[in-house]
Each structure stands twice: as C-alpha cells, then as structure tokens.
Symmetry: C2
Subunit: 343 residues, 2 copies
Amino acid sequence: MARPESNGGSRAATLSDVARLAGVSLATASKAINGRDQVAATTRQRVIEAAESLAFTPNALARSLTAGRTGTVGLLTSDLEGRFVIPILMGAEDAFGAGQINVFLCDARGDAIREQHHLKALLNRRVDGIIVVGRQTDPRPSLGHDLPVPVVYAYAPSDDDTDVSVTPDNVTGGRLAAEHLIATGRRRIAHISGDPAYAAAQDRTVGVQAALAGAGLELVGDVLYSEWSEHWGRDASALLLASHPDVDGIVCGSDQIARGVLDTLRDLGKRVPEDVAVIGYDNWEVLATNSRPELTSIDANLKQLGRAAAMRIFDAIDGIEPDTGVHHLPVRLVIRGSTIPRR
Amino acid sequence: MARPESNGGSRAATLSDVARLAGVSLATASKAINGRDQVAATTRQRVIEAAESLAFTPNALARSLTAGRTGTVGLLTSDLEGRFVIPILMGAEDAFGAGQINVFLCDARGDAIREQHHLKALLNRRVDGIIVVGRQTDPRPSLGHDLPVPVVYAYAPSDDDTDVSVTPDNVTGGRLAAEHLIATGRRRIAHISGDPAYAAAQDRTVGVQAALAGAGLELVGDVLYSEWSEHWGRDASALLLASHPDVDGIVCGSDQIARGVLDTLRDLGKRVPEDVAVIGYDNWEVLATNSRPELTSIDANLKQLGRAAAMRIFDAIDGIEPDTGVHHLPVRLVIRGSTIPRR
DNA sequence: CTGTTAGCGCCTTCAG
DNA sequence: CTGAAGGCGCTAACAG
C-alpha cells in the first residue's frame, strides 16, 4: 500500500517548489501551468518540466477557495439499496465526469435526520449543486429554498412546485404498455400491479385505463394490487385466470410481477404470447432477458434521467434560470418474446 | 429551486462576519465555534448566536487547507453496473459517514484511461485515501506505490502483494455450500457454475471439491461451466439430469444459475428439496426469496467487506501500518427451503 | 480569557 | 513578458 511516508517523507510538491526549481516566480509558474498566454514559450516549457519532475499536482482545495466554485456536486440519495437509484447515479456521475466535476455520494438511508446531516456536510464542503435522488416516484419533502446552491430532485419529485424535479412519466409508460398489447391484437386485457400506495402503481394504472378507453375497451376485472413481488405475480395471475379464463393480455406493474405471471401461465398450460401476452415494467435486464419467453417491458431510461438532472445542475451553475416544477421524462417500450412470437 | 441569488445576493457568511457581529476577534470566534475551552461561556454563547443568525457554515475547504487532511475519500469503481459493487459502496459509505468522512464516487466504467483520469482528479482534491472496487474477484493491476495516500482494494484484489486487498473467501464459500448439502444427507452432488474464466468460479469449485473429498465423496460428473445466467442453469441441469438422473444435490455457482436449475427440476417433475437439494451463491435476495422453494445460498457479506475496506483506510490515515496482501473475508450460509424442507 | 499575526496553496490584479 | 503583493476562509501559535 502506498503510504504518505512512501513519498520520501516530504509533503506533496507545491507550486512554489515548481517555481523555485524552474527559476521563475510563483505567479509565472501559475500562468505557465494554467496555459495563460502571457508567458514565453520557453519559460512555460521549463516550468512544465519542473512540475513533472516534482510530480506536482495542483491543490484543488486552494484553487476552489478563491475561485468560489469547487467543481463538486452532492448526490444525496435516500436509499442506495433501491434498484432505481443506481442507474440514476450512473447517469449523473457520467454526465458530471465528462464536465470534470466530481461527485460526493451520500446515503441517507431513508432517515430525515441523516439527510439533514449530510446536507450540512455538503454545504460545508461548498458543493456547487445538489441532486436529491429518491427511491419512489412519490413526492418527497423539499429541502427548502434557503440553500445557497441549486438543487434538482430526481425520481422522487419535490412536493414543492417551485423546485426543479425530474421523474419518469409513469402514466405514459402504462399507456404504452397497454397500447402495445392492443396493437398486437389483444382485447381482453388485465392489469396486475404492486403496492397501491405507490404513486408509480396509480400512475401506471391511469395510463393503462386511458389506452383501453382510447380503443373502446374495458379492463378485464379489477386492477389487482398487492406488492411488487414475483410471489404476488404468481398468485394474482392464478386468481385472474380462475375468474377470467379468457384473458389474452396482462399488463404487469413490474418485471418481478411479470416473472411470477409467466410462471403461473406455464403451470396452467397457457402459451405466451400465443394464448396470453405479458408485458412487464422497469426493463430490469436480469429478469427480463432470462425468462421464458423473454419479457417485453417498459424502460424508464433512468440513466438518462440522471443525466438530465446533471444537465439542469450544470445550467443552474451557469446561471441559467431553470423551469421549475415536475418534469416527466419519456419512457420507452422494449419488445421481446412475451408479446410478439419469435419467427 | 434555491439559487445563489435567492440568498439575498450576498455570498455565504464568513467567520469574520460572525466575529464582527458578535463583537469579538476572528480567533475567538473560531475557538468558540469549534468548542475550544479557552473561551468564556458567555462569549461562546454570543458567538454561537451570531453564527446562527447569519446561517454561518464553516468552509471545509479553507479548514482542510491548513489541516492537511480533507476528510474525504475516493471510491474508485471499475463498474457501477456490477451488482457486487453497490453493497460494497454502501458498506464503505456507511462506515465513513459515521466517521464524518465524505466519499467521492468515481466510475471508471472498466476503462483504464478513465481510471487514471479519475485517480488524478482525486489526488488533486487531496482525498485522504482511496478504495478501489472491482467487479470481479480476479486480481487487477495495482495503482502503484508512489501515491501520497493509502489505497485499499476491495472485491478485486491488487495483483501486487504489497498492496492491501480485501475480497470474499470464495473457496470457503464453495466448501460451505457442499458441506451443507452433505450435512443434509446428500451423496450424489454435482456442481454447475458460470464462466470458468472467473476466479470466482475456480475458487468455489476448489471449495466444493475439498468438501466432497473431506467426506470421501466424488463429484457427480464434471463441473459444468458456461455463463452466469438463468438460461445456462436451465440447460446445464437438463444436461446433468439426462446423464446422471440419480443426482440428489446441486451446488450452483450463482443464484441466477440456481433459479434456472429450479425451473428445469420443476419441469422434470423433481421435487426440491426432497429429490434434489439446490444451493445458490451470492444470496441475491430478489432472486433467492422469490423462487419456489426459496433458495439456500452463500452470502459474501459484501457490505461488511466495504466496511472492512473503510476501516483499513481509517487505520492507514491514523498512521497504523496495515498488513499487506490479500485478506479473504468470511462468507456465510443462508439456509432456505431449497435444501431443507419446511415443516 | 481574548486579540494579533502568520501562514495553508493558489490565483489575480497591478507594476516593472 | 515577468514579478511582487494581496487575499480566499480558517486555524494555530503567540502575546497581551
């Protein structure tokens, strides 16, 4: 392991070390290193060589102190465990990385106290902006408006409409799912979803209903709500098929539920997609591409959501006034074998 | 959204603002705020009130500049997508959070160039230490020894034995899995694993073989290697049962594979665990607790691994010499219905 | 107990 | 084109 002492016992080289070695003043060294033009080419060369021979690394802290901006952003998540949080992180980290900004990761683990604690730490560190990533699409409490930096809420929108939030368009997602089943000729469509307390469940149902209404159809049976699990998918579909054996399409509230549905249909001897088409939600690849048949699903483009949040922070840092409110970002349909038979 | 301007156009309050308002000197204000004892109680009270009324936040950058340490650590991951990386991040973030250290998250996305880039950025920001998290347990190139900060490698150990690495003990994991099947009375045990190019696959196999040898048993058939997928689990187990219909226990290289195995066994009319016991690996809860029956598995304690890495960084920062080399951290058996019938 | 004085490492005027 | 001086916000000696 590299240890501080392994560096010869000397602390990191500083700009004045470089200046001294190059035989110039501190100011000149600074200009040379930072590519300012008021310095002779030969001098610059000499400085750069000196810097290299000392393994000089500019101290970003000192730089930030005067610059007023640190080139860092806080990523405040409510729960890293959440499967939806990770792709958003990735998208944001990616977008910032390209812009030379580094990201502080803070996991509040669903605890408001811890969140306040982390928020304070981020402000102490003078981050240039904060992205708050929630685990559900239900609105969450705003951090408030008396913060000295721009804040964007991702996935879980702020409950304050004068904040800036980005979240997936679940209503459209539900609509796309149902419309796809209708487009493949299904007419007796049911909907099995997860925990009805989630806005995601309600929003998707709204979309499904809208699509059916648009096609002059009605949902087969009531929406079946319970939890976001494979087990529930198995049970719910057994229930559904018992009362409505003629169902020919099932919109599922999640891929996990859809996996359970596929299981039960197989047990009951129903062919997918010939007898019943099944569509999931989330496009969780591990589940969707390993089922038999592979699962058509709705992808919320979460990486892009993360990127979008990052872009809005960028803009805000640059002084561009953001349009406040909740922005519903587009989702997309990913078609696989559970709705369209393979040829 | 909170914007800098929303703060009344004034920049953040500084310590001298506080001092002025409280009618004391800068140094006294500093002492009062930081709980030093050489300050009168009444004075301290006055300063604290002034600070509050100005919403003063100490500037961590300025503080770090003199302190020599920043209270930040870099988390350099090779691939955030990797399922194993996240729990390690969580464990590390958690451990650091408790110690008031903040974490820079950098995703190199498997690219060595990007990794160097991020490394440089972390050093510019004067992190106090770096944890390098890999996506596989195969050794990875060392970052080298000429770094001014301690480095710990997690999951993917460094290929340099004088570095400090923590990684799960896959050999013991394989052994625990096989021993458990043996303990439940199985004698005709097979092993279906993933990509043989992974050290994880090889190590687990070694453990399985050792357990069998210890019980005077031999593996049924050859180890079946291909990929870490449910599909492969289905295919491999079909193959296995065709040539060895008398198998009564299957150690799987991952939970995904095990899920596929369960599928095929059900198709073939084999009861689990009565006819064949199945054990997975990774204890990926979403998969393990949603199968029929639920899946016994080996848990690598990844959160703890992340915590362990953090602890070693803590120690190194405190000047404690770490013991170099690869540390294999304990794994644990999680028993569910796929190996022990429910009563 | 309180205040004054130096810096930490860097960048940015402003003279030379 | 180069150098000297001031300051970013804070803390750690020292004096008083």
